[in-house]
């Protein structure tokens, strides 16, 4: 930032960024107060995509809510599907066949790869490099093909079920998945050569919007945004659920390799590195997957016991926590979904103070927010 005390006095101006703006990743409105190019205040105004999903959850049965979870985070619908299934199973203490858990982990990690590909691609596009976006979309297409194979859908999968998954992997699915991993793994190096260490790209990201570790914790950031600040916390490792303890993988954290620890570049690099770890997990899952049924016997009219539970799982955009209150009937009594993007928007106003307008775009991209998850 330049020293502005000697500069000519300028009048502050209030500008709307969004709700329809290509770099806000959806219907996010940011009210900018600017002094020239410098942002003195950026207030995010959320809620344009509110569909009252939590209220809908109270009106439908536990099983009927599954397709709605697809609409929580459409870039990582598998993770949201499974989060819902895990939460209900925790509430009702349902045992899930092991093969189903392996299939869930495989699809969740594949979805994490495809979600991070979009994050990577759209971020580089925001920063002015359009080609990597096409690369990301190209690779994501392979994941979509795999998902179409296993559940018939390419965006909203509705694959998990309370007690398992909707269907076993078709013949050839696991081989195709392995082929995809072999094809995809070298591509990450290609991305790094192409854009990650590009001088202009690094300049736009490094030292921008630094979040110190203690601040990230205090604001409740989770997922890559927390790990970008150097906090090695990953629910798959630290509060393991499903069959994650069986797999060997590393928790990626920011290192401040091109600037300050916790800047935009660190958050970006965490996602790139996490794709490698997801590849590792899927490879191990394919090697270890047992035979057997994929769906437990759950009664058609399904009533969990009275109680309250909070289940959280690691989604690509951070912790998705599901707070479920059951009154013993067929519907949830109260459902609250805490999502990574929603919590991340809370810190937005604090860390954007004093940045340039162009940096706001860099910050939004580095958070990898998705609006349906913020507004629910």
């Amino acid at each position: 930032m330049t020293n502005r005390s000697n500069a000519l006095p300028t009048q502050e101006m209030t500008i709307n960024m969004g709700p329809q703006h290509p770099s806000t990743h959806g219907v996010l409105r940011v009210i900018l107060t600017t002094d020239g190019e410098v942002v003195t205040r950026a207030v995010p105004d959320v809620g344009y995509l509110h569909r009252a999903l939590e209220k809908i959850g109270e009106r439908v049965t536990y099983a009927q809510f599954m397709p709605f979870t697809d609409r929580l985070d459409y870039l990582a619908a598998m993770n949201c599907n499974c989060a819902w299934a895990w939460a209900v199973e925790k509430l009702a203490k349902i045992e899930v066949p092991e093969r189903a858990e392996f299939l869930r982990v495989i699809v969740c990690e594949l979805n994490r790869i495809s979600s991070h590909l979009i994050a990577f691609g759209s971020y580089t596009a925001d920063m002015g490099a359009f080609t990597p976006f096409l690369y990301g979309i190209r690779e994501r297409e392979h994941v979509n093909d795999l998902f179409e194979m296993i559940c018939g859908n390419r965006l909203t999968y509705n694959y998990a079920r309370v007690g398992g998954v909707s269907g076993d992997a078709p013949p050839g699915f696991l081989e195709k998945t392995r082929e995809f991993l072999d094809y995809f793994e070298p591509k990450i190096d290609e991305y790094n050569n192409l854009i990650s260490y590009n001088k202009i790209f690094v300049h736009r990201l490094a030292n921008v919007a630094v979040i110190p570790a203690e601040e990230a914790v205090a604001y409740g950031l989770t997922g890559p945004n927390l790990r970008g600040s150097g906090v090695p916390f990953d629910l798959r490792k630290d509060e393991p659920y499903s069959v994650y303890p069986k797999f060997d993988f590393k928790v990626c954290v920011g290192t401040g390799e091109r600037g300050t620890l916790g800047d935009c570049f660190d958050r970006y690099m965490v996602r790139i590195n996490e794709m490698r770890e997801s590849i590792k997990i899927v490879r191990q899952a394919i090697a270890q997957i047992p035979d057997g049924p994929v769906l437990a016997k759950v009664p058609r009219v399904f009533k969990p016991p009275v109680g309250e539970t909070y289940f959280r799982s690691e989604c690509p955009r951070g912790e998705t926590g599901i707070y479920l209150i059951s009154d013993g009937s067929v519907n949830p009594y109260r459902l609250k979904i805490r999502t990574g993007s929603f919590v991340t928007m809370n810190i937005f106003e604090k860390i954007t103070r004093g940045l340039m307008i162009a940096d706001i775009v860099a910050v939004i991209g580095s958070f990898d927010i998705i609006l349906p998850e913020i507004d629910r």
Partner: protein, 143 residues
């Protein structure tokens, strides 16, 4: 620490402000707290070295028909334990102190609870209506 030990610590410190422990069927267990004491209890939970609940995972408004409630889910990165805190509020005047100066991350959750349930968080730095663009005639979620 286990939920019972956390409850005993709080009970020893705050006495009558700690109402009960909801353990059976609750995961994590909930410590029910008098609404007026929420801020002091929160600060103690965060700053006591044996507890150090540094992460507010979730804050939810709940409509229990006869009462409203605010449920806090806390986690400690240092000790890797979790606890819930709950404050029961009267339906007519649902208000309690904000915790956004204890955990700054509480702000968005509190705004959501205010918008959907009409629960007022006294002293909040930014409590605004209509995040969710409902009309003025809307009075919050009805059971």
């Amino acid at each position: 620490l286990e939920a019972q030990a956390i409850f005993d610590t709080l009970k020893g410190k705050f006495g009558d402000a700690i109402v009960e422990l909801q353990g059976e069927g609750f995961s994590p267990a909930f410590v029910v707290v008098a609404p007026a004491a929420v801020k002091e209890v929160s600060r103690f939970l965060r700053e006591n070295p044996d507890l150090s609940f540094d992460v507010l995972m979730c804050l939810s408004g709940v409509d229990y028909k006869e009462k409203f409630a605010v449920a806090y889910h806390l986690h400690s990165l240092k000790h890797r334990h979790a606890i819930g805190v709950k404050a029961m509020l009267p339906r007519e005047t649902p208000s309690l102190p904000t915790v956004d100066d204890v955990w700054p991350g509480a702000n968005f959750h509190e705004r959501e609870a205010f918008d959907l349930f009409g629960i007022v968080f006294d002293g909040s730095k930014d409590l605004r209506r209509k995040d969710y663009k409902y009309p003025d005639s809307y009075h919050g979620i009805k059971v």
